[in-house]
C-alpha cells in the first residue's frame, strides 16, 4: 500500500489527484482536487506571471500540501506544463514556489507531457492494451497543438505534433468573426491544410480502427454523458465512453443546431467553453473520418493519471505495465526509415553498442535510461545521410533536434543528438566549461556536467560499435564482450574477413581509452 499525489499545474487549471497503489486493486484514485487558475493568459501575453496569480498558485499549492499531509501521502510529483514552461523567469518562479510552499515543481516539455498523456491512457490497463493491438490512433488535443500517435500491433509507429490546438484555432476564428454557420467550414479549412500533409507523409493508406481522444474539452463531457443516467442529451454514447463515426456525426450535429447558452445548460459547462468543445468535436470528427476509424474512444483520463502511472512504473507498483521503452525505440526506427536509413545496419549497431554497454556496467555507471539513449543514437546515427553524405554528424544532429520523439525531454533529445554528432565528428571538449561559446557550439555548451559525461561515454561506445561495422556489411556476428581488468575483450566468431574492421577498430579505440581508461581488443575466433 502506497499513497501518491500527482499535481498538474496547467494553463487554465491546477489539479491534484491522490492515488493509492496496492497489489490487489492496482492504481486507485482516491481524491481529485481541481482549481481554476488561468496562468496561461499571463504567460502567453507577458511572458511572466502576475503577482496575484503567483499568490493564488502558491496558496493552492499550499492547500494541496495540506491535503497531502492529511492523506499521509508518501510521495508526490508535481509538474507544470506550457504556462510554466514558457515563462521567461520560470527558474525564479519554480524556486519561489518551492520556498513558499515546499512543493518541488518540475517542468514538462511538450514531448514529455504527451508521453505522460499517453501513459495516462495506459493507466486504464488491459482495456488499453487490447485496443492498441489493433491499429489505433491517439489524438491528444491541447490548447496550442495536437499530437497524433499511431499504434499498430501493440507498439507506437509514429507520433506527430500539429499546430492545431483548440485555443489556437479559436483565436484565429475570433480574428475573422465568422457567422455561426461558417464555423465548421472554417475549422475544417484551417485543419485540413495541415492534415492533408500529415496524411500524405505519415498515414498513407493505413487503416485505423480506433481513435482514442484526449482533450480537456470534448472528452470530459462525453465521459460525463456516458456516466450519467438521465442527462439525456445524446443517444449513441456507449457506457464505456465511446462512439461510432455515425454517433460522432450526430453529436456534432447536435452541437451545431443548439445555441451556446442551450448547450451550456444541457452540458452543464460554462458558456465560453462551448465553442472549444465544438472546435474539438470538429477536429475529432475530421481526423477520425480521414483515418476511417470504426470507433472513437474517450477514456476520460488526465495528465495526473499519467503522472501516477509513471510513478508506479518506476517503483514497480503495478503488474503488467505497457513497455513504453519499446515505443520509443519503435519511434526511432520509424524516423530512421523515413530518412532512408538501413534498418539492418541500425539493428546491427544497436546490437553491438548494447552488448558493449552491458558488459561495462561496472565501469560506466550508467543506467537503463542511458542505455535507451544509446540505442536511439545507434538507430539514428546515419539519418543525416538523407540530406548529404558529407557533414553527416551535423545533419543528423539537426534532424534529431527537429524531430519530436515522444517520451524524450528536450534535454534528453539533446543528449542523443550530441552522441550522434560526435560519433561522426570530433568530440567537443568545450562543453565541460559550461556556457562559454554558447552561440558557436550550442549543443555541448548547453549540457550540464552529468549530461556531458553521459554524452562522452555513449559517444565512446557508439564509436567503437561503429568501427566494428565499418563495411556496413554486418560481418561481426555473435559478438561477445567481456571486461577483463584493463582490457575489454570483444570476441567474434565470424568467418568473414575483418581486416577493414580491425583497422578502424584500432583508430576508434583512442577515444574509448580516453573516456574509460580501458583498451578494447578485438578477437576473431574462427570455428572451422
Amino acid at each position: 500500500m502506497k499513497t501518491f499525489a500527482a499535481i498538474d499545474i496547467g494553463s487554465f487549471e491546477s489539479a491534484m489527484k491522490i492515488f493509492e497503489f496496492s497489489a490487489k486493486t492496482g492504481m486507485k484514485e482516491i481524491d481529485c482536487i481541481k482549481h481554476s487558475l488561468d496562468l496561461g493568459s499571463d504567460t502567453y501575453a507577458k511572458g511572466k506571471i502576475s503577482r496575484d496569480k503567483m499568490d493564488d498558485l502558491c496558496h493552492t499549492l499550499k492547500e494541496f500540501a495540506d491535503i497531502m499531509k492529511a492523506y499521509k501521502v508518501e510521495d508526490y510529483q508535481a509538474y507544470g506544463t506550457s504556462a510554466i514552461r514558457e515563462m521567461e523567469n520560470s527558474t525564479i518562479v519554480l524556486d519561489q514556489i518551492e520556498q513558499r510552499t515546499g512543493i518541488k515543481l518540475s517542468v514538462l516539455s511538450n514531448s514529455e507531457q504527451r508521453f505522460l498523456d499517453y501513459k495516462s491512457i495506459a493507466s486504464k490497463g488491459d482495456a488499453f492494451q487490447k485496443i492498441i493491438e489493433e491499429k489505433t490512433a491517439v489524438l491528444d488535443i491541447g490548447g496550442g497543438s495536437i499530437q497524433v500517435s499511431l499504434f499498430d500491433n501493440d507498439t507506437l509507429v509514429s507520433t506527430q505534433n500539429l499546430r492545431l490546438g483548440v485555443l489556437r484555432i479559436q483565436e484565429y476564428l475570433n480574428y475573422v468573426h465568422p457567422r455561426n454557420s461558417q464555423y465548421e467550414a472554417l475549422v475544417e479549412e484551417i485543419a485540413m491544410a495541415q492534415l492533408a500533409t500529415y496524411k500524405k507523409i505519415y498515414l498513407k493508406d493505413k487503416e485505423i480502427k480506433n481513435v482514442i481522444v484526449m482533450d480537456d474539452y470534448l472528452a470530459p463531457w462525453v465521459v460525463k454523458a456516458s456516466r450519467m443516467k438521465g442527462s439525456g442529451v445524446i443517444a449513441g454514447i456507449a457506457s464505456d465512453g465511446s462512439v461510432t463515426p455515425a454517433g460522432l456525426e450526430k453529436l456534432l450535429n447536435y452541437l451545431k443546431t443548439h445555441s451556446a447558452s442551450q448547450l451550456a445548460d444541457k452540458m452543464d459547462i460554462a458558456e465560453e467553453k462551448v465553442i472549444l468543445v465544438y472546435i474539438s468535436a470538429v477536429l475529432t470528427q475530421r481526423i477520425a473520418g480521414m483515418m476511417g476509424a470504426e470507433r472513437i474512444r474517450f477514456p476520460g483520463v488526465t495528465l495526473c493519471d499519467g503522472i501516477a502511472y509513471e510513478f508506479a512504473e518506476k517503483h514497480k507498483l503495478l503488474k503488467n505495465v505497457h513497455d513504453f521503452e519499446q515505443d520509443i525505440i519503435a519511434c526511432a526506427i520509424n524516423i530512421n526509415k523515413r530518412y532512408m536509413g538501413s534498418r539492418k545496419r541500425s539493428e546491427n549497431i544497436d546490437h553491438i553498442a548494447t552488448t558493449i554497454f552491458d558488459s561495462m556496467k561496472k565501469l560506466h555507471g550508467l543506467g537503463k535510461r542511458e542505455r535507451l539513449f544509446l540505442r536511439i543514437a545507434a538507430i539514428l546515427q546515419d539519418c543525416g545521410r538523407f540530406i548529404s553524405l558529407t557533414n553527416i554528424g551535423e545533419n543528423s544532429y539537426n534532424i534529431i533536434m527537429a524531430t519530436e520523439m515522444i517520451g524524450l525531454s528536450h534535454a534528453e533529445r539533446e543528449t542523443v543528438a550530441s552522441v550522434v554528432r560526435f560519433n561522426h565528428g570530433n568530440f567537443d571538449y568545450r562543453g565541460q566549461m559550461g556556457s562559454e561559446n554558447k552561440t558557436v557550439n550550442r549543443s555541448s555548451a548547453e549540457l550540464d556536467k552529468g549530461s556531458y559525461l553521459t554524452v562522452a561515454k555513449l559517444t565512446a561506445i557508439l564509436r567503437l560499435a561503429n568501427s566494428l561495422d565499418r563495411s556496413h556489411k554486418q560481418k561481426l556476428e555473435g559478438l561477445k564482450s567481456v571486461l577483463k581488468e584493463n582490457t575489454l575483450v570483444l570476441t567474434t566468431d565470424t568467418m568473414e574477413d575483418v581486416t577493414l574492421e580491425r583497422r578502424y577498430f584500432e583508430s576508434g579505440t583512442d577515444f574509448f581509452r580516453e573516456v574509460f581508461g580501458v583498451q578494447p581488443v578485438l578477437k576473431q575466433k574462427k570455428n572451422f
Binding site: E20, K28, C32, K34, K72
Partner: protein
C-alpha cells in the same frame, strides 16, 4: 419543463396563505380535546411564535415590496398588496381563534385542574395583591424605565417584539392628558407564581403587576388608563431570500429607500382606551388592518413558560426516550458495524447518539486521517463540536463548514466557530451567495486495504437537542461511490471545481432540481406507456413552480401521487385534468415532521431518496443541498414503511381538500392510527428484540443468583 398550461396561476395557492393554513393546523392541535391539556398549551404557544416569525420575515418582505413599488404577481397571480390584504383578513381570523381557544377552552380547564392564571390584576384578593406589590417593589421597580411624552420629550423608540404598557396620565393638579409608556422588562420572568396554600396554584403575568403599580412610576400624575401593547417592526431583518433577487433589482431601479424600522403590527389589549389607541396608531403610523385587539394576554409564547411549571406531569404527554439502534449496540465499533452494511437511522424514535459517537470515535481513532462536516444549526454545548475540536487536537485534518446565515442564530454560530478554529480546525464560513443546508459528515480512515470513507448523510441538522423533537432520517454508509461523491462535495465547498460526474449524490443548487424534474418526468413517461407509476414524497414545504407543474403533468398522465407535506403547499388537488391523481396530507404531531423522503415507482424498480431539501425555490436554487439514494434492500423497506405508515395515519394527518382547506379524516368505524406513536412503539420493540437476541447469542451461561 412541463407544458405551459400547467403553470396557470389559478392552479397555485399563495404560499403565505398556505402557511397560515399550516399555523391553523397547529392551532387545531391546541383545540383537540384528545390531547393532554399542557400539550395543547404548547401547541397554542407555537402558533404564536410561528406567527411572530411570519410577520418579521414574510409580512415584512411584502411590505418592502409594496414600498418599492414592486408589483410582480406570485405563482398564484396575487400582487403583494393583494396578498397583504388577504393575509391581514386571515391573520385576524386566526388570532380570534387563538384567543377563543385560550379563553374558552384552555384557561377554564387549567383552573379546573388546579392552575389559575391571573390576567387581570383587578381579580387579586387582598393577600395576593400585597404579595404582588411587594414583588414589584423588590424586583420589578428597579429595572423599569418609564417614559412620558410631551412637547419636550418625543415619542420614544418602542423596541421590536417588546411588550409595553401604554398609559394616559393627567397631572394631579390638572392639565392635559399625557401619554406615557414603560417596557415590560424582558429580563424578568413573565409568569410570577403567587405563593398560596391548598391545591390551586396561582400565577400572575408580569405586565399585570406593573399595570397595577403604575401610579408608583408617575408619582405626580393620575393614571387615567393603562394597557399593554406590543409592536413588530421590519427593521432588523433582511428581506427573505426568496424574493430578494428580484426585489433588490427593483429597489435599485426605483432608487427608493426601504423604510427601515417601520411598524408592521400593533397588538393591544381588547377594550383599550380609544384615545390611547389613537395616539399609538398615529405615532406608529399604522393602518387599522394592522392593529390587533387581543382578548387575553398579548404574546401567547408565554404559555411555553406555563408548560414548564412543575407538578402537572399527568397533563403532559409521557416523555419518549429515543431508543437504541439495533445495528449499533452500546460500546460497539461504529466503523466495523458500518462495514457490515448501511445503517439507516430514524430519529427521534431512534437515538441520535450514534451520530455523535461516529464523530467521537473518529476523533480518537488513530487510523482516521480526516473528518469533514457541514454544520447548520448546532445546539449550545454541542458534543459534536467538542469531538471535532478534539479531533483537530489529535492531529486529524478537520474541515467544518459553518453556516452563519442560519436565520436567528448567527451569534451563537460565530462563538463556537471561533472555538473550532482555535482548536486547529479548518473552518469555512459559508459560501458567498449560498446557504449551506446540506447535512453531511465524511470520515476518511486509513485501513489495511487502503483508504476507506465513512459517511453520514441526513435530513436533519447535527443538533442533538432538536434530534429529540424533529423526525429525521440519516444514513451511515461506507459505499465507495458515495464516498467519492462526499469527497467531491467537500472539495466543492472548499472552493475547488466540481467533479466530472456524480456517482450517487445530487447536489443543489446546480443539479438537484433537474434531478427531481427528471425523476418526476420518468414517472410521467411510464404512465404514458401504460405502466404503473407512483410518487410518494414527504417534505416540509412544497412551493417550487417547476416541480408543481411537473407534478401536474405527471398527474395528468396518470401518475398516482401521494404527498406528505407538513407546511406550505402551493399545489391544489382535484383540479380536473390537472391534479386529480394527487393527494396531499399534512402531519402535525408531537414531534415536528422534518424528514424528506422521496419514493419513485420507476416501473417496478422503485427508487428511494432522502435529502436536506424541500421542494422550494430557495432549497433548490439558492442553497447547497444533498439528495442521496438509499439502496440497501432492508433500508429501502424501512423508508417505504415510514411513508406507508404516514399515509395510513388518521389521527394526526389532515387531508388537503379540493377547496384548499385541510380536514382531519373521518375515523368513524375505523381503527385510529397515529404514525408517530406507532414509530415509537416499533422502535421500542426493535430495541428489546435486539437486546434479547444479543443475550441469546451469547455463549456464556447466565446463572440465577436467587431462587424465585
Amino acid at each position: 419543463m412541463a407544458e405551459q398550461k400547467f403553470y396557470a396561476p389559478e392552479y397555485y395557492v399563495n404560499r403565505e396563505l398556505s402557511w397560515l393554513l399550516f399555523d391553523n393546523r397547529v392551532l387545531g392541535e391546541a383545540r383537540d380535546k384528545n390531547i393532554p391539556l399542557f400539550e395543547r398549551l404548547k401547541f397554542l404557544s407555537i402558533t404564536s411564535s410561528n406567527l411572530d416569525e411570519f410577520f418579521m420575515v414574510r409580512i415584512a418582505s411584502l411590505k418592502d415590496m409594496i414600498n418599492a413599488g414592486f408589483e410582480k404577481p406570485d405563482i398564484a397571480g396575487m400582487t403583494p398588496s393583494e396578498q397583504l390584504e388577504k393575509l391581514s383578513e386571515e391573520i385576524h381570523k386566526l388570532v380570534d381563534v387563538q384567543y377563543s381557544t385560550y379563553n374558552k377552552a384552555l384557561r377554564p380547564q387549567l383552573e379546573a385542574n388546579g392552575l389559575k392564571i391571573i390576567t387581570a390584576h383587578e381579580d387579586l384578593n387582598e393577600q395576593d395583591a400585597a404579595y404582588v406589590d411587594k414583588y414589584f417593589e423588590e424586583n420589578v421597580y428597579p429595572v423599569l424605565t418609564p417614559m412620558a411624552v410631551d412637547s419636550s420629550r418625543p415619542f420614544p423608540l418602542i423596541r421590536n417584539k417588546s411588550l409595553n404598557i401604554g398609559a394616559l396620565l393627567k397631572k394631579k393638579d390638572g392639565g392635559e392628558l399625557e401619554f406615557a409608556t414603560v417596557q415590560v422588562p424582558s429580563v424578568l420572568a413573565r409568569t410570577v407564581p403567587i405563593p398560596g396554600d391548598g391545591s390551586l396554584k396561582k400565577i400572575i403575568l408580569l405586565e399585570e403587576i406593573i399595570e397595577r403599580n403604575m401610579p408608583k412610576l408617575f408619582l405626580n400624575y393620575h393614571i387615567e388608563c393603562a394597557h399593554p401593547y406590543r409592536i413588530m417592526r421590519n427593521a432588523d431583518f433582511t428581506i427573505d431570500e426568496d424574493e430578494a433577487e428580484d426585489l433588490l433589482k427593483e429597489i435599485e431601479h426605483q432608487i427608493k429607500k426601504r423604510q427601515w424600522g417601520e411598524a408592521i403590527r400593533l397588538e393591544v389589549e381588547a377594550g383599550i382606551n380609544k384615545k390611547l389607541l389613537k395616539i399609538l396608531k398615529k405615532e406608529l403610523q399604522l393602518d387599522a388592518e394592522n392593529i390587533y385587539e387581543i382578548d387575553g394576554p398579548l404574546d401567547l409564547t408565554v404559555l411555553m413558560k406555563v408548560y414548564g411549571i412543575e407538578g402537572f406531569d399527568h397533563l403532559k404527554a409521557p416523555k419518549f426516550t429515543p431508543q437504541p439502534v439495533p445495528e449499533l449496540p452500546e460500546g460497539c465499533d461504529i466503523f466495523e458495524e458500518i462495514r457490515k452494511g448501511d445503517i439507516l437511522l430514524h430519529h427521534p424514535y431512534q437515538t441520535f447518539l450514534p451520530v455523535v459517537d461516529f464523530i467521537r470515535q473518529a476523533a480518537k481513532d488513530p487510523e482516521v486521517l480526516a473528518i469533514k462536516q457541514t454544520l447548520y444549526r448546532v445546539s449550545g454545548n454541542s458534543p459534536i463540536i467538542a469531538a471535532l475540536a478534539q479531533a483537530a487536537e489529535n492531529g486529524k485534518q478537520v474541515t467544518v463548514l459553518v453556516e452563519l446565515k442560519a436565520r436567528f442564530d448567527e451569534e451563537n454560530n460565530i462563538v463556537w466557530a471561533k472555538m473550532l478554529e482555535k482548536a486547529g480546525c479548518h473552518v469555512i464560513y459559508g459560501l458567498v451567495g449560498l446557504k449551506t443546508h446540506s447535512k453531511i459528515t465524511l470520515v476518511v480512515r486509513r485501513e489495511e486495504d487502503g483508504i476507506r470513507r465513512y459517511i453520514h448523510l441526513g435530513t436533519g441538522n447535527y443538533n442533538d437537542a432538536t434530534a429529540k423533537l424533529y423526525t429525521d432520517v440519516g444514513l451511515l454508509t461506507c459505499t465507495e461511490s458515495i464516498g467519492e461523491d462526499a469527497t467531491a462535495v467537500f472539495n466543492m465547498l472548499s472552493g475547488y471545481s466540481e467533479p466530472l460526474f456524480w456517482n450517487k449524490l445530487s447536489v443543489a443548487p446546480l443539479w438537484l432540481k433537474n434531478k427531481f424534474l427528471y425523476l418526476i418526468g420518468r414517472e410521467t413517461k411510464h404512465a404514458r406507456q401504460g405502466k404503473k407509476a407512483h410518487i410518494i414524497a414527504k417534505m416540509n414545504s412544497l412551493c417550487d413552480k417547476d416541480i408543481i407543474a411537473a407534478l401536474y403533468e405527471a398527474s395528468a398522465a396518470g401518475v398516482e401521487i401521494d404527498l406528505i407535506v407538513r407546511g406550505i403547499c402551493c399545489l391544489k388537488v382535484g383540479i380536473p385534468g390537472i391534479s386529480e391523481h394527487i393527494r396531499v396530507r399534512s402531519i402535525v404531531g408531537n414531534f415536528l415532521e422534518h424528514s424528506r423522503i422521496f419514493y419513485f415507482e420507476n416501473d417496478e424498480h422503485n427508487e428511494l431518496y432522502c435529502g436536506s431539501a424541500d421542494w422550494m425555490p430557495r432549497n433548490l436554487e439558492r442553497r447547497v443541498e444533498i439528495l442521496f439514494p438509499v439502496e440497501g434492500k432492508k433500508q429501502k423497506e424501512t423508508l417505504l414503511h415510514i411513508l406507508e405508515c404516514q399515509l395510513k395515519d388518521n389521527v394526526k394527518a389532515s387531508i388537503l381538500c379540493n377547496d384548499g382547506s385541510y380536514e382531519k379524516q373521518d375515523r368513524r368505524g375505523r381503527v385510529s392510527y397515529n404514525s408517530q406513536e406507532s414509530f415509537c412503539q416499533e422502535a421500542m420493540e426493535a430495541a428489546v428484540d435486539a437486546a434479547s437476541t444479543e443475550e441469546s447469542g451469547s455463549r456464556t451461561f447466565i446463572p440465577r443468583t436467587s431462587h424465585e
